[in-house]
C-alpha cells in the first residue's frame, strides 16, 4: 500500500472554518484560519480575519490579501497596510564580489556611510522597496569593499533586518508554537524548552488512538502538542486546577472542531473523591463561583487587553492562570462567539439560558470524564505544571493502565529527584529515568539542561520490592 492517505477522523474531511474542503487545499490560507506570522526568527500567532488590524514587529497591516495564497508565501507591507506577495529574491551580494582580507585598515569614524538619515527617510517616503534601500546603502558605503566576505554578509544581514520587512505566513505546528512560546513567553510554559517538549511526546509514546491524561499549566501548549500527535484519534482528559482549563495556546493550532469531541476536562479538586469513590457531579467544586467569571474571560476578545505577564519562575507563587488575560503577543479569538452576540444584543434572559445550558453540558462532560478516568486504563500521563510534581504523579498514576509510559516535567531538578524517590517507594513503576537534554544551535549558543522524569507503569507487586 503506497501513499494511502485515508480519511481524517471526521470521516468527511470537514475542517473547522469552512465548508467541506478537499485535502489538496490544506496548503491554502483561508479566512478564519489560525496562522503564525514569521519575520526572521520572530513569530506571532494570529487568526486571519478580514479588515482586522494586526501589529507585528513594529508594523501594522491587514491580513485580507493572504487569503487564497499558499502557506509559506512571503509578503511585504505596502501602503495602506496591505500585504503584497513577494517572491524570495536571491541574497543581495555585492556586484563585484570584491572583498578585503582583514580589517586592519578600516577606521570606524562613523563617516563611511554617505547617505544621511534624511536621505534614507526620503527613499522610504518615495516608496522605494527595502532591498533597494539596502543596495543603496552598500553602494554608498566607502568601507564596504574593504570588508571581509564574512563582514560583508554580516552588514547585509543587519541592514536587511532593519529595512526589509518580509513577513512569511506559516501554518501553526508544535514546532513553531513551542519555539515561539519559549522565545516570547517562557514563564507561561514553565520554561519548558521545545526540545524537552519533543522528548515528552516521544518518550510518552503519544500517538493516534491513545487515551491520554494531560496535566499541564503551559497555556494549553502541551495539550495542543498532544492533540497534534493524536490527530483526532483517541481521547484526552485534561486535568485542571482552579475554575477551568487554559487553552489559549491550543487555539493557536487551529485544529478542526472534531478534534475537540474527544477532549475532556476534569478538575484536580475532585481527584481525591474520584479515587476514594465519593465522586458526585452534584457537589460542585468550590471554584464554581469563579466559573462564571471564567466564562466571561473566555468570551472576551483577549487582544484588546493590555496586561503584563506575571513572572512564573518562582513556583511558590500561587497564580490562577485563567484569571489573567493573555499578553498581547497572542491574538486569540473567543471559542464561544455566541456569548458575545447575546451580550451585545443586551438580551439578558437569553444569555442566562445559554449560560445554564453550557453549565449542564459541562456537568455532563465531567461525568463522562470521571467515567473514563475510573476505568483506570489510560495509555499515558503527561505532567508539566507549576505545581510540585510528586502529589500529581502519585494520584494521577492510579488512572493509568499497566505497561504504559508516563513523563513528568518540572522547571527544577530537585522536585524531580523527590518525585523519583516517592515513585520508587510507591512501587508499580519501572525504568525510572531522570534525564536532562542540552540543545546546541549552530551559529548560536549552548542551551543548558532541562530536566525530565520518565517511566513505565507495571502491575503492583509487594511494596518497594527493589525492581525499578
Amino acid at each position: 500500500m503506497e501513499g494511502a492517505k485515508g480519511e481524517g477522523p471526521a470521516g468527511d474531511g470537514a475542517m473547522e472554518n469552512s465548508v467541506e474542503h478537499p485535502r489538496q487545499q490544506d496548503h491554502l490560507i483561508r479566512d478564519g484560519d489560525f496562522v503564525v506570522l514569521k519575520r526572521e526568527d520572530v513569530f506571532k500567532a494570529v487568526q486571519v480575519q478580514r479588515r482586522k488590524k494586526v501589529t507585528f514587529e513594529k508594523q501594522w497591516f491587514f491580513l485580507d490579501n493572504v487569503i487564497g495564497h499558499s502557506y509559506g508565501t512571503t509578503f511585504e507591507v505596502s501602503s495602506g497596510g496591505n500585504l503584497q506577495p513577494k517572491k524570495m529574491m536571491e541574497e543581495i551580494t555585492s556586484e563585484t564580489k570584491e572583498a578585503g582580507i582583514d580589517n586592519r585598515n578600516i577606521v570606524d569614524d562613523g563617516k563611511s556611510q554617505k547617505l544621511t538619515q534624511d536621505d534614507i527617510k526620503a527613499l522610504k517616503d518615495k516608496g522605494i522597496k527595502g532591498e533597494e534601500i539596502v543596495q543603496q546603502l552598500i553602494e554608498n558605503s566607502t568601507t564596504f569593499r574593504d570588508k571581509t566576505e564574512f563582514a560583508q554578509d554580516k552588514y547585509i544581514k543587519k541592514k536587511k533586518k532593519k529595512y526589509e520587512a518580509i513577513i512569511t505566513v506559516v501554518k501553526p505546528s508544535t514546532r513553531i508554537l513551542s519555539i515561539m512560546y519559549y522565545a516570547r513567553e517562557p514563564g507561561k510554559i514553565n520554561y519548558m524548552r521545545y526540545d524537552t517538549l519533543a522528548q515528552m511526546l516521544t518518550l510518552g509514546n503519544i500517538h493516534a488512538g491513545n487515551k491520554m491524561i494531560v496535566m499541564e499549566t503551559c497555556a494549553g501548549l502541551v495539550l495542543g502538542a498532544v492533540m497534534e500527535r493524536m490527530g483526532g484519534f483517541g481521547s484526552i482528559i485534561q486535568m485542571y486546577p482552579g475554575g477551568g482549563p487554559v487553552r489559549a495556546a491550543t487555539t493557536c493550532f487551529g485544529f478542526p472542531k472534531s478534534f475537540f469531541n474527544s477532549l475532556y476536562e476534569f478538575p484536580l479538586g475532585k481527584v481525591n473523591c474520584l479515587l476514594n469513590g465519593t465522586f458526585s457531579s452534584k457537589a460542585l467544586p468550590p471554584e464554581s463561583k469563579d466559573s462564571i467569571s471564567v466564562e466571561e474571560n473566555n468570551g472576551t476578545l483577549l487582544d484588546d487587553l493590555q496586561t503584563s505577564p506575571k513572572e512564573m519562575e518562582e513556583s511558590i507563587v500561587e497564580v490562577i492562570e485563567n484569571n489573567h488575560p493573555q499578553q498581547e503577543t497572542m491574538e486569540v479569538i473567543s471559542q464561544e462567539p455566541e456569548y458575545k452576540e447575546h451580550k451585545e444584543r443586551g438580551n439578558k434572559k437569553d444569555y442566562i439560558q445559554e449560560l445554564q445550558r453550557k453549565q449542564e453540558q459541562q456537568k455532563k462532560r465531567q461525568i463522562e470524564a470521571a467515567t473514563l478516568l475510573n476505568e483506570r486504563n489510560a495509555d499515558g500521563l503527561i505532567i508539566a505544571s507549576r505545581y510540585h510534581p510528586t502529589p500529581l504523579a502519585l494520584s494521577l498514576l492510579e488512572f493509568v493502565a499497566p505497561s504504559r509510559p508516563f513523563v513528568v516535567y518540572c522547571h527544577y531538578k530537585e522536585p524531580l529527584v523527590e518525585c523519583y524517590t516517592k515513585l520508587r517507594e510507591r512501587g508499580g513503576v519501572i525504568n525510572l529515568r531522570l534525564s536532562e537534554t542540552w540543545l546546541r544551535n549552530y551559529q548560536n549558543y549552548f542551551q543548558p539542561g532541562i530536566h525530565l522524569l520518565s517511566s513505565i507503569t507495571t502491575t503492583f507487586g509487594e511494596q518497594g520490592t527493589g525492581k525499578y
Binding site: S70, G72, A198
Partner: protein, 289 residues
Amino acid sequence: MSFVEYEELIKEGDTAIIFLGHGSMFPVQVQRGAQTQTKYGVIRHSAHLIGQPFGSRVTCSKGGWVYVLHPTPELWTLNLPHRTQILYSTDISIITMMLELKPGSIVCESGTGSGSLSHAIIRTVAPTGHLHTVEFHQQRAQKAEEEFREHRVDRWVTVRNQDVCKNGFGVSHVADAVFLDIPSPWEAIGHAKDALKVEGGRLCSFSPCIEQVQRTCQALAEHGFIEVTTLEILLREYSVRTANLPLPDLGGALDPLPVLGETQFKIGVPLKETVGHTGYLTFASKSLF
C-alpha cells in the same frame, strides 16, 4: 500487541519486552509452546505469557521474577538487533517534532539501517500516513521488511532496495517530510526535493561530522531550501541516590537538643562525566518558489 496501538493482553505472535530490572531487558517473540531462558529461570510462553496482561509480573522457574512489557518504538530502539549504528530516542524526538510528523504524514527516509527511526516514524504517522524507506544494502532491506511484517506494521511502510543518491525515494511530490542518514547527503538533496510535495515540506539530514553538514547546507542553499538550521541535542542521565554527610561537632551545644551524627538527603548525579555526541541535525524547509 501493536506498535501503533496498545492492546491489553499478550497474544501469540506478539513481540513482548522482558524486563529484568535495572534497565536490563530483551525482546521475545511470543509462541505457543516456546520457552525463554532468563537468569531467573525459564519463562513458558503458553503458561506465563499468552493471555496475560502486558505489565504483569511473571515468576520464572527458579523463583525469580520479571515484568512483561508492551512494546513501544522507544523500547524497541533500546532492544533491537543492531545491523548498523542506530538513532536513539533523544535524536528521534527532536527529529519527529522538527519535521512536524503527525497522523497522516507521508515520510521518506534513507537509509533504513536497523529500523530504529522507522518504527518511531510509523508509530507517529499511523493510521493515515505512510513511510517510504530506502536502503541500499540488500540484506538490511530484507531484514527490515521482515521485521515490519513481524511487528504487523507493514501496511504503513514500503521498503525499497536502491541507492537514494542515484535513484531517489521511488515517489515524487508526495512527501511531507524527508529524512537522510547517509554518508553523502548532499548527493540526495535533489531527490529529496523531488520527493517532497510541491507546496513544500520539511527535510532533516543527520551527519556525525561537521564537514558533512557544511556540504549539505551548501547543497540545500543551491536547491532553494530555506530556514536552514543545524543543531545538536545531547542527553545526560542522572542516577538518584541517597547521600550522607556527617554533621560537625562544634563543641558545647547552644541548642537544648544537640544534633550529631549524619544527615541524609537525596541527590541526582550524572551517570557519566562526559556527554556523547551522536550527530548534527540539519533541518530545512522546501520553499514554494
